[in-house]
Amino acid sequence: MTSPKSREDWQRIKEILDEVLDVPEAERPARIAALCAGEEDLRREVESLASAAEGWTFLDRPDEEGGPPRFEIHGPPGRIGDRVGAYELLSELGQGGMGMVYLARRADDQFQKKVAIKLIRPGMASEFSLQRFRSERQISASLEHPNIARLLDGGATAHGMPYFVLEYVDGEPLTEYCDRRSLPIPERLRLFLEVCAAVMYAHQNLVVHRDIKPRNILVTPEGEPKLLDFGIAKLLQPDEGAEAAAETATLFRMMTPDYASPEQIRGERITTASDVYALGVVLYELLAGKKPYAVTGNTPGELLRVVCERDPEKPSVAARSRDQKSSRELRGDLDAIVGRAMRKEPKRRYSSVAEFADDIRHHLAGRPVLARRGTLAYRAGKFARRHRIALAAAAVAAIALAGGVLATLREARRARAAEANAQQRYDDLRKLASAFLFEFDDAIRDLPGSTPARALVVQRALQYLDDLSRAPEADHALRRELAEAYMKVGDVQGNSYMANLGDVPGALQSYSKAIALLEPLVQSGKADDDMQATLSRAYLTQGAIRLITGDAAASIALAEKGLDLSRRLAERNPGDPRRAFALATAWQYYAFDLSAAGRDAEAYEALKNQAAILRTRLADNPQDRDVRRSLNQNLYLVGEALQDLDPAGSQKAYAEAVAIGEALRVEDPASVLLRRDLAYLRTGMGGFYESRKDFAAAREQFQHALSLFESIAAADAKSVDGRVGIAISLHNIGNSRAGEGDSAGAVRDFEKARTFYEPLVTADPSNAWAEGALADLYLAIGQETEKMAKARFGASGEGSEAACALYSRAHDIFERMRVAAKLTAVRMKPSAEAAAAVARCRGSLPASSPAAR
């Protein structure tokens, strides 16, 4: 590569280059030869520049000649007349998510058969996806079906851009085709069924389309729909972890947001169910005449909110503005069918495209439709614990889908008291509240990754419940259901024992509302057993939340109230396992609160009571998971309580707990809850070893806990528990190193822990536990820092300024907590240590030093 040596040289080269670039690529060599006659160096220079001009850089912007350029990395367009493989580009057909699509033909083809070529923009294709693309080509090429546009060929251009060659389909997008001919609904459905057949065929061949949308479904003039663009189709294979996630994230940036399924947006696994969803959206558009979501932005936050959390209008409602007749036709069966295909949770949709198509056929034949039958069965079945439920921001809309109750209620309210039948309104209210409870089933707590959706739900839910509780018809039964609903919302808000958002004050408020609804009735003796059971639970949980905010005394008082109620219930109903189990749980809460207050012996007694009940139950039902889980927690608490009282007993309890915990986890590996239990357990064991000064063994347990917490945090980035656990584990690991005398190592771990603690405290200042833990940490870092200074500088006190600064910080936090009466028993000792350390610092440092304020 020679560079022009002088300005004059360059001016000449510029002029020649300019002329050469005016000429089509094919003719350039000749032109160059002519203009550079005889001058070899010049010719080579111009040639190299001319070919560089055909490349592309971030300076290029293909559409606007003369317009401003943009700093963006994108691929060059193919130009008309360019050769791509064995083909010649004829014209542009349109812009796809991955690149431009051209009309082309074989350069040597006498028959001039037309094909479509899709050029993939280089920035889009990582090495990983290029490999994937090559293997997919082989798969997709094998798809032969009258309603699928065949993939004919593929390759990469000289510039390294991958391309697909597809059968060219001359047709209109499905929605346009139907609209232009004003096709009636049955006709649209029949066309749609043909599309379903194509997708079914692909699924049978283990190919998921992943990008179904009307633009990818062209209908030929003969009325045949053809499915295009299996270009990002994927083999049904377990995901390869991080790579797959990154790739999906890249694809996410490219895909059409209007048709993307919730799992696609969240970057989760794409399966045939995702195609069902997309087909559902297409059907929606075909029937309703518009798209289900109005997505205005392209930011992940917006997409998440709209597609993953909001339910669209029913097709019949959406069509109302267009024409009344269609709207009536759509109500009922078709609404339900579309709704089922578009469920947020993949498992709740049709289990296959075949099932989807069948339901449409049933409707056309006037037979009962699965989509409607299934919902009723679901509502009736109380053992829906394993069902994963789709949470909509307006959870109420989900209920509406199940029974149209909301519509009734709204109308009832608008039509003033006079007309509406009071009884009817009351019935509606009850149905609503109980349906609401259903939708908030316990099963959601087990869902990793579902937390972002819940934030918005909580808001709406509370608004709704507040409305309901003001309703004059609210009687006992309704009040209990409302109380339960408030409690469930409170759980989502901030009960620290479940995946949560960390809104502790909100949780307290919700629980207070629940208690306020029930307490008066229970106290006046008007409450039935169920209501008392609910109130007992409310007391216990409220107590647990108060403990997090640092009020141990209040927590114990509440636990005692709850325990009292549960005990009386169990006594009145001796054979009832529900009441027995509830009592066992009450003992556990009580034990936990006592333990936090330092009353270990009493805690142990409470735990014994709990264990007795659990083991009785287990004798009859050895497989009962809930009981085993409770026993697991019980043994963990026993281990904690006995650490000083009976070390051998403590170790035995831990060991048994771990055994149960591991067994449970094997049976249900996805469960975040079980992972958490086990992580706490490991932590407890680590503490046990620590107290025996067996630091290596302690660290081993803490490392187990750390990886468990890391997996929890990974499963649900919004949840606080994972990060709290990581912070604690790192803190503990640091402690174990400190115990071994490895101060430098300890400080390293502590500093890591710090990066996790500090954001937690900033995000939720009411969380006394986190504050205290942070103070503890500062103290620990201070102590180890001081040791290191002593090791280096001896007893001179030199180098201890850093330590003193940390002691000050710790002391400040502890003092603040003490004044606000938030210091729990377990923080007493560190608080005293911090105070003493600060005093020492003030004594040994000159007055001008900042640490000696």
Binding site: R7, F71, R253
Partner: protein, 186 residues
């Protein structure tokens, strides 16, 4: 350098919009400050999908300062012409810092998300270097690139600011791109 105070700014803008090019010179410190602040806040947000558009920043700075008053397109072009140079400096400085920071990042710190694929720092620095080389060969051409790329001027506007014909602008831009593509790609 003393910053013009608020009333002065308005007067200067008025003078400039009425054709007084010298007033623009006096406005420049303000412009620079504005650009720098905008660039800093824009570049601070490291979103994935983040495409860096210097022209957007210059536009915004322009609007903020002039408050969308009616200014002739020629005056606007001159404003942008000066802003282009500033923009280049600001971006290159930022890119240098980013390159340095990447080498420093300690492993265990919670890293800010590395914006994969759209981290423009290397390209920007390469462009700057190549432009400097081009300046040695043909200062006018380098200026054309600067105006088009960093200020996003159209062919007409570039011609106006550089005082050359649109035809020359087109030629210079096209051939410069070829040269830069080769230099940067190498």
């Amino acid at each position: 350098m003393a910053q013009p105070t608020e009333p002065d700014l308005t007067a200067l803008l008025k003078e400039w919009s009425e054709g007084d090019r010298k007033a623009l010179d006096q406005l420049m410190p303000f412009v620079y400050e504005e650009l720098r602040k905008l660039a800093a806040s824009y570049l601070r947000e490291e979103r994935p999908n983040h495409t860096l558009q210097p022209t957007a920043l210059v536009n915004e700075a322009y609007l903020r300062l002039t408050g969308q008053k009616k200014v002739t397109w020629q005056n606007r072009a001159h404003f942008f012409g000066i802003a282009a140079q500033m923009m280049r400096r600001i971006l290159v400085d930022h890119a240098r810092k980013r390159q340095a920071a990447k080498r420093d990042a300690s492993a265990w710190k919670v890293a800010t998300t590395e914006v994969d694929g759209s981290d423009n720092a290397p390209e920007l620095l390469a462009l700057d270097r190549a432009l400097e080389e081009l300046e040695q060969l043909d200062p006018q051409q380098a200026r054309v690139v600067e105006l088009r790329f960093f200020a996003g001027l159209t062919v007409e506007e570039t011609a106006e600011v550089a005082g050359i014909s649109p035809r020359t602008v087109k030629r210079d831009w096209r051939t410069a791109k070829a040269w830069l593509a080769r230099e940067i790609g190498a």
